[in-house]
Amino acid sequence: MTALAVQTTNLSKSYDNQSALDRVDLRVPEGSVYVMVGANGAGKSTTFKILMNLERPDSGNASVFGLDTGANGPEVRAHIGYVPEHYDAGYRWMTSARLLQHAEAFYPSWDSAYADRLVKSLDIRMDRKTGGLSKGEGRRLQLVMAMSHRPPLLLLDEPTEGLDPVARRQLLTLIAEHLADSPTTIVIATHHIHEVESLADHIAALNGGRLVAQMSRDELQKNVRRYELELPENWKAPAGLVATQTRTSPDGRDAQWTIIGDERDVAERLTSSGANVREAQPLAFEEAALALLSGERAQ
């Protein structure tokens, strides 16, 4: 059985009676690149804050590498490289070099040579004051701070936000290199699913604080498919199908449905309802991820 880097059980959190997380059970296998998708306010950032023990859950618990995040806050944070959603320079008077030196003091595992390499790769100007950095420059500096102590877990909350296309590509290449170089589990919360498509091997969809689905990439390919259907007259869809992006021809005889569920089971149910399944095609990663989100709504 694969060990889990992150596990949450019944994790719930509300702010002013608004549910931010509702009984979320995350399972992030060690060594995976786990992509969390969801609209703003879906609960991605709150999950990260609870994992960092920056927020206390209302109920449920969370663990990182088997350590309870509430009981072992400092130990858990020592294992995490965290890039929060919003860039906060903090010490605006510090140069980038001094800020890195500051971060280094807190991580005995800091790899200075690797930090230098990252600084060069991301083209960070070390003599600039952090208060004067652009959003993108600040983001890059945050990434260097998060990665230089070679944490076994990286929590990246919208890591490419504020970066220009070239910097985005640079950053994603760097993450791929980091993965090849250091055994790391990465949890990425992002709106830009296509950017992390090549890295992702697991996906979770959050909607309104609820975990709609989580599965491996292989399961995603198997379970989210586009079905080409030939329909009889007055056909009625079988109950309980989670279908999104339905498209039907004007005469009502041909349809294209994206359906979430085991392919054999879905096909059997469609066939027994009288529909003829012409083809069931796997979707591209981003399309499938979006189908998970909209599937929840359709259900």
Partner: protein, 299 residues
């Protein structure tokens, strides 16, 4: 079970050292400005001395500058930190309470170094200008029956005595700065909006006093006035902490012939000062402990 090797936490001494470096760096500009002001004052004092004016008396206990520095220091210490919420400092792998305490300790060390510098500077000024550095002086002591509301004092009621300032009271500036620093740190860490609380409290005190005066409620007015006076100038009041009462016991009196002199209403008592230090510092430590509770790990 995880197979990931666990990372170590930084040593607390390392955390304190880093906070010391960061705090020292963050206040370097005001420190340079103060050093420049001290240089100008030194030149003016020496110029005065060369023109034949009297030397500077070495009496650091009379200066409220260390206490002011202690009260203002927490602003400098916490200015760049997001004290509440998910600020950068709290994402580091250090127990939050210990981290906050380490930062308070770092600020205190810098404060004490600064106060030492200030006392040495006063001593150097006194030595250069051949001022009194022993604390041995002739003073005029007012009678116990002295009433500050009586406009003129009979000179024959004053006693002239030779008095030697107790050497232990040379430590007053250090304890004054420490007491003020701990109290101010408790406010800075305990309240999300400390200035609002300070201004609100001061306004409430004045408003209460004004209402008391307005409705001519003598008992209320007398009680609140006595309470404020006790806190300020009582035997163990703030003035005892900040100057061993050297400030409040010295007063300018006018003789029947119109001559004005500085006289003492009483003499500083070492045990009173020690008790005041213990009381106020204890109060500050209690407040600081309560404030640190707001920054504990979410267990």
């Amino acid at each position: 079970m995880t197979t990931t090797p666990l990372h170590h936490l930084p040593r607390l001494s390392q955390v304190v050292r880093e906070q010391l470096r960061v705090t020292a760096l963050s206040i370097r500009l005001p420190a340079i400005a103060l050093a420049a002001i001290a240089a100008v004052v030194t030149m003016l004092v020496i110029a005065d001395f060369l023109r034949g004016r009297g030397g500077v008396e070495f009496a650091p206990e009379l200066s409220l500058i260390p206490a002011f520095a202690g009260a203002l220091m927490p602003i400098a210490v916490w200015l760049n930190e997001q004290r509440f919420g998910a600020g950068f400092m709290w994402t580091l792998p250090v127990d939050r309470t210990r981290h906050a305490l380490a930062k308070v300790l770092a600020g205190w060390i810098i404060l004490i170094v600064a106060v030492t510098g200030f006392v040495i500077w006063l001593l150097i000024l006194a030595l250069i200008t051949k001022g009194n550095i022993t604390g041995d002086e002739i003073i005029r002591l007012l009678p116990a029956s002295y009433d500050p509301n009586v406009s003129a004092v009979d000179p024959s009621t004053l006693r002239t005595i030779r008095w030697s300032f107790p050497p232990v009271l040379r430590l007053v500036p250090f304890f004054a700065a420490t007491g003020a620093y701990i109290l101010a740190s408790a406010i800075a860490l305990g309240f999300r909006h400390p200035f609002r609380w300070i201004i609100g409290t001061v306004a409430a005190v004045y408003l209460t006093a004004a209402i008391g005066q307005g409705i001519a409620d003598d008992q209320f007015w007398a009680l609140s006035g006595k309470l404020i006076r006790t806190l300020q100038e009582g035997r163990y009041g703030l003035d005892t902490l900040l100057s061993a009462r050297a400030e409040s016991l010295r007063t300018v009196v006018t003789f029947s012939n119109g001559q004005r002199i500085t006289a003492w209403r009483g003499l500083p008592v070492v045990t009173d000062w020690i008790i005041a230090v213990l009381l106020w510092t204890g109060l500050g430590i209690g407040g600081l402990s309560a404030a640190l509770m707001r920054h504990r790990e979410n267990r």
